[in-house]
């Protein structure tokens, strides 16, 4: 009998479907990926993210009609350190957790300008809007232990290849190959002859002249060096390079540990598109933080907004109140062990309006669990307290239990 009840439960739950989770929206609070663009209401896909100065200039040129006019709708995320520094970051650098490295690698400046054709949310067609924002990480977790082991293995095998090549370079220096000897002697002859009638600095310039015989001789020598060191009769070097490639293919770049990020932005409104007539349109500052573990994840968000386009404390209604400040916060604890079908989460959200006493703060606490029966079918269950203080019960398991309870009622 018990087996039949469980089977019926599953059938009813599946028929009700996964879609019956309207009451639970677990992403009510989201950290903005692009601060200023988010303040101006741009879609993430509309934000330009140039990675070097050339692509930045091309993007600006396109947006400004070849630098003839200010862009009318344009959003840009810049990583200053990547753009302006000639340095790059290797995997070793990206695994650093000291604040200096993390800040340099994650600091983003966000810029945007917006004009609308008609009234949209709080934007007016006769005004121009500009936004400025920033984002950076304070704490960044390291790669997981498995990835660290792979990196160590890669470095160890690369070192063996390099030690082998150092020996090859020694042999190359002592090479008596007639062609190599001729090219080396010719190179020195050209240098000495040139230096006799030119300064040392001019000789250096000649070395870099791609039309000079010196440049051609050196290019041949470099090519022969490459061929010389590629000789690997025992296949030893190639074996190591193949093993390195296999290790690299397993590298996931997954991070585990504590993380914390801060973002902020503000938007200005230029009345009647006049640059000398502006006011603060909206602003915000928020921090997201958490811990990512193997099976357990804790995420948190605290956010202060001035004049948001929607007020979370009023069930996400459009903001029609002037000069309003809101404060929202939330935490989510998720348990999702790999190789199991079960996941559970506990989420709480607090929302408030700071600048008026007519809207009371409220909070919500929801427990959610699901079990994957088949690939695209889950048993879901949620229970908790809604913002209005009422009890919340949802999920297709609840529906199934309710159905069964009704079916088994004594008449």
């Amino acid at each position: 009998m018990k087996k039949y009840i469980i089977l019926l439960l599953a059938i009813v739950a599946l028929q009700r479907g996964f879609a019956q989770e309207e009451g639970v929206t677990l992403d009510l609070l989201k950290a903005a990926s692009s601060p200023a663009a988010n303040i101006l209401g741009f879609a993430v896909s509309d934000i330009e993210k140039p990675t070097d100065l050339s692509s930045l200039m091309l993007s600006l040129q396109s947006a400004s009609n070849t630098f003839n006019a200010l862009p009318s709708n344009y959003a840009l995320d810049l990583a200053p350190y990547f753009l302006l520094s000639k340095k790059t970051f290797t995997t070793t650098d990206l695994n650093n957790t000291d604040f200096g490295s993390v800040f340099r690698q994650t600091f983003i400046i966000s810029l945007g300008v917006r004009n609308v054709d008609s009234v949209l949310d709080n934007f007016k067609a006769e005004n121009t809007y500009a936004g400025l924002g920033f984002k950076f990480s304070i704490i960044r977790p390291k790669y997981i232990a498995e990835d660290s082991v792979l990196l160590s293995s890669i470095h160890r095998k690369a070192r063996e290849v390099n030690q082998f090549n150092q020996q090859e370079l020694k042999k190359w220096k002592e090479s008596q190959d007639p062609q190599v000897l001729y090219l080396r002697n010719r190179r020195m002859e050209i240098l000495r002859n040139y230096r006799q009638s030119h300064t040392a600095e001019e000789t250096v310039a000649m070395q870099q002249d791609s039309t000079s015989e010196y440049f051609s001789v050196e290019r041949q020598l470099s090519f022969l060096l490459g061929n010389f060191t590629q000789k690997d009769s025992a296949g030893f070097k190639q074996q190591l390079l193949d093993q390195i490639q296999q290790d690299a293919a397993k590298f996931t770049a997954t991070r585990q540990g504590f993380s914390m990020e801060i973002s902020g932005g503000l938007g200005s409104e230029f009345i009647n598109k006049q640059f000398n007539n502006s006011r603060l349109f909206n602003a915000g500052i928020w921090t997201s933080f958490g811990y990512t573990g193997k099976d357990l994840t804790l995420l948190g968000l605290l956010r202060w907004l001035y004049n948001p386009d929607r007020i979370i404390a009023m069930d996400n209604m459009p903001n029609q109140i002037a000069d309003i400040s809101t404060f929202d916060g939330g935490f989510r604890l998720m348990y999702a062990p790999k190789a199991t079908r079960f996941t559970a989460s506990l989420e709480t959200i607090y929302r408030s309006v700071l600048s008026t006493e007519t809207i009371d703060p409220s909070w919500r606490l929801i427990f959610n669990a699901d079990y994957a029966l088949f690939k695209n079918q889950k048993l879901t269950f949620s229970f908790g307290r809604n913002f209005d203080g009422t009890l919340s019960r949802d999920g297709n398991l609840v529906a199934a239990l309710t159905f069964l309870a009704g079916f088994g009622n004594k008449r």
């Binding site: 990547f82 000639k86 340095k87 790059t88 970051f89 290797t90 995997t91 070793t92 650098d93 990206l94 990196l151 890669i154 470095h155 690369a158 070192r159 290849v161 390099n162 030690q163 090549n165 150092q166 090859e168 370079l169 020694k170 190359w172 220096k173 190179r187 020195m188 240098l191 000495r192 230096r195 040392a200 600095e201 000789t203 250096v204 070395q207 870099q208 050196e218 020598l221 470099s222 090519f223 022969l224 060096l225 490459g226 060191t229 070097k237 390079l241 390195i244 490639q245 690299a248 293919a249 590298f251 770049a253």
Partner: protein, 121 residues
């Protein structure tokens, strides 16, 4: 695209210090490098890039060689470019040498070999 270099860096007969910097690219790649200056002057291994580092005086480096062997692994999911930029300062003039290779298959490992002769003429 080239992954090998045999070149000459002109130095003077002075005690001015010569520095070496190695930049590995593109962002997200992994590298291990062995650096050696003959005559026991300088010996170093590094994972990733090498910040500007003193390798000896002009006078000490005359008629010696700098040998660099590096393996750069394409770990980045965004690009298949591997590159090595070598910068030498403190000799007769600043020199920058640029080597690179775009790998055909993801996660490929590329060996680079460089030999730089320090000459005073």
């Amino acid at each position: 695209m080239n992954t090998s270099l045999d070149t000459v860096y002109l130095v003077s007969n002075t005690e001015a210090v010569v520095t070496l910097e190695i930049i590995i690219g593109a962002t997200g790649q992994t590298a291990q490098t062995i650096i050696n200056v003959s005559g026991g002057i300088f010996d170093h291994e590094v994972e990733g890039s090498l910040p500007e580092t003193e390798i000896g005086t002009n006078r000490a480096l005359i008629d010696n060689e700098l040998s660099i062997s590096s393996v750069i692994v394409d770990m980045s999911p965004d690009t298949n470019v591997t590159e090595m930029i070598i910068r030498l300062r403190g000799g007769i003039a600043f020199r920058e040498y640029h080597l690179s290779k775009v790998v055909d298959t993801d996660k490929e490992a590329v060996p680079y070999v460089v030999l730089i002769h320090f000459i005073n003429i």
